[in-house]
């Protein structure tokens, strides 16, 4: 090999990412080229220095404790029905009939208490999930409102905004051709909501900004309706067979519902 090693090959060499053949060729070149040997050494030194300097920040013990508690709480939530079940009351009767009736009553009480406990636990868990989802939605909307945060795709044309998502999200959606009066499409962002890729569409209703989040419908969707209001923002949602949608804005709820209704109809009308 006569040509000098490229920066990319030098990086791969320092990182141990060259294939055996590439490595053999690189070594052969290094044996005769002092310039590349010097570069390779410099790369290795830089890598070692970055590794040392990069290990800089450590979590506080409080954060580690909080995270441990988070996992432990989740584990306890799963354990709760088991521990309750182990506290099963025992009834003793002297006569057969009374004994059977006692067991039947105990079984009924047990089933009822399990049902109530499970329902409460499920409600508490779902309420937590809903609160987390709403907080994340509000956070993303507020971030998008900042003047310093222009949309990733800026266009009022639905034929520009929709195709921009091709290959970026694992589902498709339709945008309405006719929007309600004083409503216009401003653009969109690709964002992640609860770890899922989501299309965040921006609309304006008068001077009010609206975010509409569209994501692929999944079985793990947070159950139950979202609250209609959070941090002074109004929320409305709809679902189709393929997508779940949530809209958020400080605009009048009726006008927000009008917009989401139009978007929802665009999904269904295109299928007909």
């Amino acid at each position: 090999m006569s040509a000098h090693l490229t920066p990319s090959v030098l990086s791969c060499l320092a990182d141990g990412e060259l294939s055996p053949e590439q490595l053999a060729m690189a070594q052969e070149h290094l044996e005769t080229c002092s310039v590349c040997t010097s570069k390779a050494l410099a790369q290795a030194l830089l890598k070692a220095a970055v590794a040392k300097s990069g290990h800089r920040y450590s979590p506080t013990p409080e954060l580690t404790d909080r995270l441990r508690e988070l996992v432990s709480k989740d584990s306890q939530r799963a354990d709760a029905p088991l521990s309750r079940a182990s506290q099963r009351p025992s009834f003793q009767g002297t006569r057969g009939g009374l004994k059977i009736a006692g067991w039947a009553l105990a079984a009924m009480l047990l089933l009822a208490s399990i049902f109530i406990i499970q329902r409460n636990l499920s409600r508490a868990g779902k309420a937590d999930d809903r609160a987390a989802l709403v907080a994340e939605i509000c956070d993303l909307h507020v971030s998008a409102l900042a003047d310093s945060a222009p949309a990733q795709v800026i266009s009022t044309d639905r034929h520009t905004v929709k195709p921009w998502f091709q290959g970026k999200i694992p589902f498709s959606f339709n945008l309405p051709e006719q929007l309600p009066a004083d409503v216009k499409l401003d653009g969109a962002n690709l964002i992640y909501l609860q770890g899922q890729p989501v299309a965040q569409l921006f609309y304006s209703i008068g001077r009010h900004r609206v975010s509409v989040f569209l994501r692929q419908r999944s079985d793990t969707k947070v159950a139950g309706a979202l609250p209609p209001e959070h941090w002074g923002f109004h929320l409305t949602e709809f679902s189709t067979e393929e997508i779940d949608a949530v809209a958020i804005s400080d605009v009048d709820p009726a006008r927000l519902a009008d917009l989401t209704g139009t978007i929802e109809r665009a999904q269904t009308s295109a299928r007909k």
Partner: protein, 200 residues
């Protein structure tokens, strides 16, 4: 005896939580370190790690046992960062791929052709043990370059793992690493050049 379905589900969930704890807690220092580098302050870094944990815990059912947990949870951290305020602001200020070819060989040459520099920034760094200079140089890196160099050099991930975390092709990983090192070197060159001038 077959367990009732709710009992079975509860036991499976307990086992999952325990498995999650075993896998995730040892990674807290690494997650926090990368989170701090990206967020640039302790409060945002803590929020980022906590949110990552919450998402990972809830989505742990979708994790395939036996696959790379570290890459999986770092991907969640990175996606969480991207949707955070600092992440969104950072993502809009950089368009790297436009400036690079697939393998990054169009990046400016690291060294003048045919010259062996015995006063390279790397050697100066070692000589002066100047970790602060490198720290400043790393802070100047654009987030996409910083994250790739942290995963590669600090977390010692392979290119394949980095590609999985960042959800980009391996070629892009290679080009970004090459670019990041070139920028670090340039920043150090400026730093030491100025220092030399100041001293002389």
């Amino acid at each position: 005896m077959a367990l009732l379905s709710w009992k079975r589900a509860a036991r499976e969930s307990t086992v999952q939580s325990s498995m999650f704890e075993d896998l995730a807690l040892p990674l807290v220092p690494a997650l926090y370190n990368v989170a701090f580098w990206l967020a640039r302050n302790d409060r945002d870094a803590e929020d980022l790690v906590q949110e990552t944990f919450l998402k990972a815990l809830r989505g742990f059912g979708s994790f395939q046992p036996g696959t790379n947990f570290k890459a999986w949870i770092f991907r969640i951290l990175r996606n969480t960062y991207l949707t955070s305020r600092t992440g969104l602001a950072a993502s809009r200020t950089v368009a790297l791929e436009d400036e690079l070819n697939e393998h990054g060989d169009s990046a400016p040459s690291l060294y003048p052709e045919g010259v062996i520099d015995r006063h390279t920034p790397e050697l100066n760094l070692i000589r002066l043990n100047d970790g602060a200079a490198l720290h400043r140089a790393m802070e100047k890196l654009a987030p996409p370059l910083l994250e790739v160099i942290l995963l590669c050099d600090v977390e010692e991930m392979k290119y394949k793992e980095i590609a999985a975390v960042l959800e980009i092709p391996i070629g892009t990983v290679m080009s970004r690493i090459s670019r990041a090192r070139a920028e670090l070197r340039n920043a150090l060159q400026v730093e030491f050049g100025i220092n030399r001038r100041t001293r002389s």
